[in-house]
């Protein structure tokens, strides 16, 4: 049986973590582990007042780790993220699942993390220090402390793209998910479920640096799986994922920006 420790703030919760403890966000992953007798932790730590909601200022946006998918859908500040949040789980999951939990979700989950990597988000820890999503994702397995929020620049209108590929609609987990922030000069193309964590497709980014011409899109599609390491799972084989990645990149670009 697990023990539950309830703290007021994220800082207090961060301080009371330690060996055998797991932080509880919305619980859609942690409670599953509790129900199935996961032995890797014996203590749940939760915070009564995690940072929740979207705040915007001239600098950009800050989204609290305790913000749920339903909260994102209710915020007009982050309309560009609505197509992402809307495709995560069913309605009950969206009322529970938090941004903080999504940053740690293993395959086939983590669709919001894919989008946040493409948006150049910074992950703000409860101690106040911030680091880019890419470094955070590389280190998330052995990170100390808790995530307080993410901060991100507002994408220029018409530059953010997202596509989730799933076998069941309207609710189904990702075979892969794709996000792009396609400003000229320094674009981002990110794949989820095509490696242990969301991954930038750098060769495709280079091909799209000059803009979205037909030639550039074809070039990006032909190199988009470079550096990706998909795995076999119950949804699809690694071979299949490599074969169809370019098709979905093209479909995402053809279907237009999601904001």
């Amino acid at each position: 049986m697990v023990e539950v420790q309830t703290c007021q703030t994220m800082a207090e919760a961060a301080a009371s973590l330690g060996e055998g403890a797991r932080y509880l966000g919305g619980g859609t992953i942690v409670m599953r582990q509790v129900n199935y007798g996961d032995q890797s932790f014996h203590r749940i730590v939760r915070a009564l007042q995690p940072e929740r909601g979207v705040r915007g200022d001239v600098q950009g946006l800050r989204i609290g780790a305790g913000t749920t998918m339903a909260d994102l859908l209710a915020s007009s500040e982050v309309r560009f993220l609505h197509p992402v949040a809307r495709q995560i789980g069913g309605p009950a999951i969206r009322n529970m699942a938090t941004l903080g939990g999504n940053l740690f979700a293993q395959n086939p989950y983590g669709d919001l993390a894919v989008a946040l990597l493409a948006l150049d988000a910074q992950v703000v820890m409860s101690g106040g220090q911030a680091q880019p999503m890419e470094r955070f994702l590389a280190e998330r397995g052995h990170l100390r402390g808790l995530v307080e929020a993410v901060s991100l620049p507002r994408p220029q209108p018409g530059t953010f793209y997202f596509r989730k590929v799933s076998r069941v609609k309207p609710k189904g987990v990702s075979v892969m998910s794709l996000a792009g922030c396609l400003r000229s000069g320094d674009p981002r193309v990110v794949f989820g479920n095509m490696g242990p964590a969301p991954t930038r497709a750098r060769a495709a980014e280079r091909a799209l640096a000059g803009g979205l011409s037909e030639a550039a899109i074809s070039a990006a599609c032909s190199v988009c799986t470079e550096g990706l390491a998909p795995a076999d799972d119950a949804l699809a084989s690694a071979w299949y994922r490599r074969e169809v990645a370019a098709v979905h990149l093209r479909r995402m670009l053809d279907s237009g920006a999601s904001d």
């Binding site: 539950v4 129900n35 749940i44 789980g89 009950a92 009322n95």
Partner: protein
């Protein structure tokens, strides 16, 4: 290990219970409060049979740590009927053969109630979206979707449209 006291509103009554650490809300409702309407199908969030409303919106009670409902309002299917009068959704489910084995029914009803509370006159697509987290192994979903549309029409005082596909 010490139990934790939790008080919350269960449908129209106050509930005060001692819960085991780490207990899921579905267990506490069924074993502690004796409300057997939320069903536990999968205990991992995929079937929706345990759906209850917390402060008006659907939550999966198998993935809800029971003590997090302290001070909140939990609604289950046992609160739907007003005495002997069934809720229009319940009537429409019975009349439209939207329940066969019935295991998914209370989760479906709660997902549907939340939809109709917020969107009294939903489209067919909105109904499908609202129950997309609820699995049914028996009906093939069509009778359930029809029943929810029928209940919505009745609650709006309109005759039910048949075969709105």
């Amino acid at each position: 290990m010490a139990k934790t006291p939790v008080t919350f509103t269960l449908n129209d009554a106050e509930a005060a219970l001692f819960v085991d650490p780490g207990a899921a809300l579905v267990d506490v409702l069924r074993r502690g409060a004796g409300d057997l309407t939320p069903k536990q199908g999968c205990a991992q969030g995929t079937c929706g049979a345990c759906t209850v409303l917390i402060d008006g919106v659907p939550h999966l009670s198998c993935l809800t740590l029971a003590e997090t409902v302290q001070g909140r309002h939990v609604e289950t299917t046992s609160g739907l009927a007003g005495g002997p009068d069934l809720h229009p959704l319940q009537k429409a489910f019975i009349e439209g053969f939207a329940a066969q084995c019935g295991f998914c029914t209370s989760g479906m009803l709660m997902a549907a109630k939340s939809l109709l509370d917020q969107t009294p006159d939903p489209t067919r697509d909105q109904v499908i979206e609202a129950i997309s987290g609820n699995l049914c192994r028996c009906t093939g979903y069509e009778p359930i979707v029809d029943a929810i549309l029928t209940a919505a029409a009745e609650m709006q005082g309109r005759p039910a449209q048949q075969g709105v596909r």
